[in-house]
């Protein structure tokens, strides 16, 4: 056979085909990951203290994700996979240790915040109006005052919309622990919000 060109192409093709497939998979992975960046950022922003820290953490997360894209199993939850990288990096960077040692935070009973807000509300008891007595800033700063372990659970489940099971996997803790941290974290958050609201009155 003298059709050298054809022969050559046949020889090369399994390899070339594999490379082409891999390149295509990688590009798709990168695009899928980038499409989730807003959601990843949203979670990151509240896991750490400042905007700058969040920017750094998200960049590191994507740099690592793009390098180790082969360890992602297609068809599984990419957002959870990215968040797992992010929370691990966050721990590695020792940000947790910089925080004040875990003091037993004060929790409010579940009706406490409503009662505090309604009490000072000139007779306004409508629940949607009462909630509007809190400012967006109140919420953001109250959230950052919640100790890390509890905040992680709130941020992943209540802000990031992860299931308990996904949050458990991301944080590498049992599902029951996610639930109890979430439960207590929300009470701590409400306590913080009540304190902020009362401070503004006085």
């Amino acid at each position: 056979m003298k059709a050298a060109g054809t022969v050559e192409r046949v020889d090369e093709s399994p390899d070339a085909q594999r490379l082409a497939t891999e390149a295509r998979d990688r590009v798709r992975f990168e695009e899928d990951a980038l499409a989730l960046a807003d959601q990843v950022y949203r979670v990151a922003r509240h896991l750490v203290g400042s905007r700058e820290e969040a920017d750094d953490l998200v960049q590191e997360t994507y740099a690592r994700a793009f390098r180790s894209w082969r360890s992602f199993t297609p068809g599984t939850n990419l957002r959870a996979w990215l968040l797992r990288i992010l929370t691990n990096l966050n721990i590695d960077r020792g940000r947790r240790q910089q925080r004040t040692p875990q003091m037993q935070p004060l929790e409010a009973n579940d009706y406490y915040l409503y009662d505090r807000l309604a009490e000072n509300g000139d007779g306004v008891t409508d629940e949607e109006r009462v909630v509007e007595r809190l400012s967006q800033d109140d919420i953001v700063s109250a959230l950052s005052a919640v100790p890390h372990d509890f905040r992680d659970a709130i941020v992943l489940v209540d802000i990031g919309d992860f299931s308990y099971a996904d949050a458990a996997q991301i944080l590498d803790i049992p599902v029951g622990t996610v639930m109890s941290r979430l439960h207590r974290g929300r009470r701590i958050l409400k306590r913080e919000l009540a304190d902020a609201a009362v401070e503004e009155e006085t």
């Binding site: 960046a37 949203r42 922003r45 994507y62 793009f66 579940d110 009706y111 802000i159 639930m179 409400k190």
Partner: protein
Amino acid sequence: MKDPCAHCEEMMQPYLDHVLTDAEMLEAERHLDECEYCRRRYRFEESLRVYVRNAAAEQMSPELREKLSALRIPLE
């Protein structure tokens, strides 16, 4: 017997998370049907959760978005 409103307060988070058993769910709903005090506080908690989610919706900067795209590994 326990104060029914205090008991209802304890069921609020699991109720809104849909993790109560059927029997507990029924118990909570029976109480809520007749108790304006608890009903109001449950609705407040629902609004609060939405409010927290919205307050936390901070956008990333366009610069960061560009930096992330630049981290992609170029094709050879």
